[in-house]
Assembly symmetry: C2
DNA sequence: ATTATGCATAAATAATTATTGATCTATCAA
DNA sequence: TTGATAGATCAATAATTATTTATGCATAAT
């Protein structure tokens, strides 16, 4: 019962809903999400941890990157996350996707150097 | 999106989950829930309001009683509430049901006088 | 009318969560 | 090594929620 309440608590925050929506099409690393939302990294890490603790996300370490994606091992939670994704209108996350794609583009071209370094103002 | 987060927030508290579970078999008035949980009335009213605001409960006034029941007008919310009810094991709410039934019995016999008056210690 | 009951709400306080800024660790590149 | 980057975590603070006590309002019984 506590676990159930916890899952809902994880879903009760708009930033976390946006994260789930952003992960709709696959995994992302923390710096991607930071770039997409234009908010500080500890904040993103905090919300990712909440989602992970609730069993809604999985992580995977690769070099110095942590990748997060939707955890589909539990059917109920998976259904919840899917319904969240379905219920958030695309235009609510347009800006997030735009910033993400721009960031991804920069990443792709400047491959020689580090990918996620501080974006200049 | 805010509305969606709100629905989940309403579901993120154990007392509120217990209320939904208790309402599984039909409507109850506030004093029933107070008796079932053995907690103070304003606290129950507070949680009922949260659930109602989120669109998970409906209320109905009859004389001086307020009756609450599950709002089944929205399919998604209805599904959520059903899954909550299904996921909470019966033994988590045994005591609640026992106190409720005892209270209902007293109500039924002492019909002449007021039903929900302060229970003696 | 007067009194008692059912319930909501307000004010005050307590308890949780979220956010920020400052480290800290691990990994990789030079 | 040394330096830089990705990300976690901690400490301090801000912001929300929950709980309690007190009160107010409506209804109904006397």
């Amino acid at each position: 019962m506590r676990d159930l309440a916890n899952v809902f608590k994880a879903l009760s925050d708009e930033t976390r809903l946006r994260i789930l929506k952003l992960l709709e099409h696959g995994e992302l690393c923390v710096c991607d999400i930071v770039a997409a939302f234009n908010i500080v990294q500890p904040k993103v890490s905090f919300h990712l941890r909440v989602l992970k603790t609730a069993g809604l996300l999985k992580d995977r370490k690769e070099g110095k990157w942590m990748h997060y994606k939707i955890d589909d091992s539990d059917l109920f939670k998976r259904l919840l996350v899917l319904s969240v994704i379905e219920k958030i209108p695309e235009n609510n996350v347009q800006e997030d996707r735009r910033r993400l794609e721009e960031f991804m583009r920069n990443k792709a071209q400047g491959q020689s150097t580090s990918a996620c370094k501080e974006k200049k103002k």
